[in-house]
């Protein structure tokens, strides 16, 4: 936590104070100047930070009203009329803001508008943010009468107050003194920028009132309902909750719109009444529930853009993840493209889930289903990329293609490392045991005996045996499923296959079909 206070200007530094409002500006102010590029040869001076190799930055600090002198500008160091033509100078733009509604959380929101407002100024170019800022003042602007940076500062402050009325008082320090800039950048600006980034990582679904939708994919996935929450970035990997918020504010009719969260129906699965309502509207009634952090119950729809796909492997009762660039088949015998083809297009498919790489960083990562404790396999490249976000207890227990390429190899690996799925997953969020683990050999026999009878009695069983959580009718026929080969009723004589049905009272949670000989080998 960085303390917010007025910055002390050291003695002996050249300071010019310009209080009060300005009646008239020596330049035009209009949104039509946005994007104006002041070309080489056209600029009088260049100002800024890193791109010029100078200490410069922009920073907004929230202060109590009695510490802010409204509309005052303090110029530290050289002003515009003391600069050499075509020279480059470090520039720090520091704003103190005060207002009843202003808290530290609003600082970055206000700060990024500096770019928008400064670009309304004719003959002035502002680019980038934080310590990366780069500005140019046009020769034509100087010719027209621009003399002081205070004039730029006052115009910017006027725009801040007009456009963001919650700013009651604003004061600015514009400094071109490199020593001063460097000190403030290191001691104040960087700690504040870092704290803000940490805040982005830390903010959670509970802390906000609205999530954001994204419609960018709806042209090819019409029923896709993309919900971007603090704990669940978009599955294309591109859009975070902060991006959604920024976009929704700038363009309310654009691709990102607020979705009021509504009531929290299930905090663990991440189910909210507002999201459900929105999903029903947006998908034309196709989906009435969306749980943000669940793999098995009303999971998020998958558009087609997802960076990685998660797939459930009933044989090990665990989830694997493969990324778009992985060329081989996953242990379930399917390549990314086949799984993506089945899931994509805005569908809610149990057993498969498209996710963005950034979701692996989420503290609520599939928390309803055991989160990382349920993950058994990841393509190596993907695992390497997000290694730091895997809890240490699980890091070595998740196999890659180097450990296991097939389900049998995967089973061996999981037993060897004592993966939680083997003995049953206790989910971290509430300590509840959510899976029973792999059934012991003897028990399997017993269960199998019981299970075999009804299977024989009703030969048409296959259609009535949804291989939960995968539903056969949602699988395209051409899909290669070596490990799921369903026996046709006629080709399934007693003893030819063995059915293992677990948790049968809760409808059917799992069906394992395997050749009897294979079983005997063990």
């Amino acid at each position: 936590m960085v303390e917010r206070k007025r910055i002390e200007i050291p003695e002996g530094v050249k300071v010019k104070e310009v209080p009060g409002e300005m009646e008239e500006y020596p330049f035009d102010i209009s949104p039509m100047y946005e994007g104006e590029r002041i070309r080489k040869g056209e600029y009088f001076v260049e100002l800024g930070g890193q791109p010029l190799g100078k200490p410069g930055f922009e920073l907004v600090i929230a202060l109590p009203p009695d510490q802010v002198e409204d509309m005052k500008v303090t110029i530290v160091g050289k002003d515009l009329d003391e600069m050499e033509e075509e020279g480059a100078y470090g520039l720090a733009m520091i704003y103190y803001v005060a207002g009843e509604m202003i808290e530290e959380d609003l600082e970055p929101v206000i700060e990024r508008r500096n770019h928008d407002f400064q670009n309304y100024i004719e003959g002035y170019m502002h680019l980038q943010q934080r310590h990366d800022i780069w500005c140019r003042i046009a020769k034509s602007a100087v010719k027209k009468g621009l003399k002081s940076l205070a004039e730029i500062a006052k115009a910017t402050m006027m725009l801040f107050k007009n456009e963001l009325p919650f700013i009651e008082k604003i004061e600015a320090i514009y400094s071109t003194d490199e020593e001063f800039n460097k000190k403030v950048l290191d001691e104040l600006a960087w700690p504040i920028y870092n704290a803000r980034d940490a805040r982005v990582e830390a903010i959670s679904d509970e802390e906000v009132d609205e999530f954001y939708s994204c419609h960018l994919c709806q042209s090819f996935a019409p029923t896709n309902v993309c919900i971007v929450s603090p704990d669940r970035p978009a599955l294309c990997g591109a859009i975070t909750w902060f991006d959604g918020r920024a976009a929704a504010r700038v363009d309310p009719e654009g691709p990102n719109r607020p979705v009021p969260k509504g009531e929290c129906i299930d905090p663990i699965k991440g189910e909210y009444s507002g999201v459900n309502k929105y999903a029903a509207e947006e998908s034309g009634g196709e989906y009435t529930r969306i749980c943000l952090h669940s793999f098995f119950d009303a999971p998020h729809t998958s558009c087609g853009c997802f960076e990685t796909i998660g797939f459930y492997m009933p044989e090990v009762d665990g989830i694997g993840f493969v990324h778009r660039g992985y060329p081989d088949v996953a242990p379930n015998g399917l390549p990314f493209s086949t799984m993506a083809g089945q899931t994509g297009g805005g569908k809610q498919i149990l057993g498969f889930l498209g996710v963005g790489v950034a979701y692996f960083r989420s503290k609520k990562f599939l928390q309803a289903d055991g989160g990382w404790r349920r993950v058994v396999w990841m393509a190596k490249e993907l695992k390497e990329r997000i290694k730091d976000y895997i809890p240490e207890e699980m890091r070595d227990k998740i196999a890659t293609e180097e450990d296991a390429k097939t389900l049998d190899e995967l089973k061996e690996f999981l037993k060897k490392v004592d993966h939680p799925v083997v003995t049953g997953v206790v989910r971290e969020v509430d300590g509840q045991k959510i899976t029973d683990g792999w059934v012991e050999e003897e028990v399997v026999e017993e269960v199998a005996e019981v299970a075999e009878a009804p299977a024989e009695a009703t030969p048409a069983q296959p259609t009535a045996m949804p291989m939960q959580p995968m539903q056969p009718m949602q699988m395209p026929m051409q899909m290669p499923m070596p490990q799921f080969q369903m026996p046709t009723p006629t080709a399934a004589p007693a003893g030819g296959v063995k059915l293992v049905i677990k948790d049968a009272k809760i409808k059917i949670d799992k069906v394992i079909i395997r050749k009897a000989e294979e079983k005997k080998k063990k």
């Binding site: 590029r37 770019h115 591109a238 920024a246 660039g325």
Partner: protein, 258 residues
């Protein structure tokens, strides 16, 4: 802002024409943006500024794709805009140059492209003239990375294929509703009256107004072979004078050469 796109079948000389148009138009105003929108083109070489191009728009889009998770509280649109303005736009003496570069890789580019469109739209409106060297597929227009163009110059040589491409471009621009104000034909490396007649007839039949013919110029072939910029072509050569006339049509004034 006047946007001119030069296109046509590969090898017909559109980069040569683009480079000379940029050369002449930037004598009138330096608020000129040259855009290389052909992944297989070499407009920077033709202009003699290849060494000054540091990054392409495609490079920056790739950096965006891989670093976007680590941007923290930074605004992604401002990040992208900043990178384009500082790294992708190459500041030459009398014009700016933007190379579109590599096509998209795997993965989803919806968000990146949606931001790019906004940034380019804001950038482009501040130039007086934008000259785009575009591949015949007009991909940047169909994807709306570049909003639209006022004039399309289709360059054709004497080959039947060159004309077929011109026809296809016209059809495509209609189908994709690209809203170009006008599509014009320019014949290049035309060496016989007979070829001129065929192209004239084609232009009439297809309703693509013909602007003129450019001659075969040995000097261009020589520069090409040596890998020298096309701007080395003497300004008083027949070829250069004819392109200058086209540039004058674009700017609506006569252009003085030194």
């Amino acid at each position: 802002m006047v946007v001119v796109a030069v296109t046509g079948k590969g090898g017909t000389g559109k980069t040569v024409v683009s480079a000379l148009l940029i050369h002449f138009i930037s004598k009138v105003t330096t608020r000129v943006l040259a855009v290389d929108a052909d992944p297989d083109s070499n407009l920077p070489d033709a202009l003699g500024v290849a060494n000054e191009v540091k990054k392409t728009l495609g490079d920056i889009r790739e950096v965006f794709q891989v670093s976007r998770d680590d941007m923290g509280a930074m605004n992604k649109e401002q990040w992208l805009e900043g990178k384009i303005y500082t790294e992708a736009i190459c500041e030459c003496d009398s014009y700016d140059l933007l190379v579109m570069g590599r096509p998209e890789g795997e993965g989803c580019y919806c968000f990146a492209n949606s931001l790019l469109r906004g940034v380019l739209r804001k950038l482009m409106r501040h130039y007086d003239y934008i000259i785009i060297d575009s591949e015949a597929g007009l991909e940047h227009f169909s994807r709306k990375t570049i909003d639209t163009a006022d004039y399309i110059f289709v360059i054709t040589d004497m080959s039947k294929k060159g004309l077929a491409t011109a026809k296809r471009i016209k059809k495509m621009s209609k189908e994709l509703k690209l809203d170009f104000k006008g599509i014009y034909l320019i014949g290049n490396r035309i060496m016989s009256k007979e070829a001129e007649e065929i192209i004239k007839k084609f232009a009439d039949e297809e309703g693509i107004p013909l602007i003129g013919f450019l001659p075969y110029d040995e000097k261009i072939a020589e520069l090409d072979m040596k890998g020298l910029p096309i701007t080395y072509l003497p300004e008083n050569s027949e070829f250069a004078r004819k392109v200058k006339e086209i540039a004058e049509l674009v700017v609506g004034a006569s252009i003085k050469i030194n």
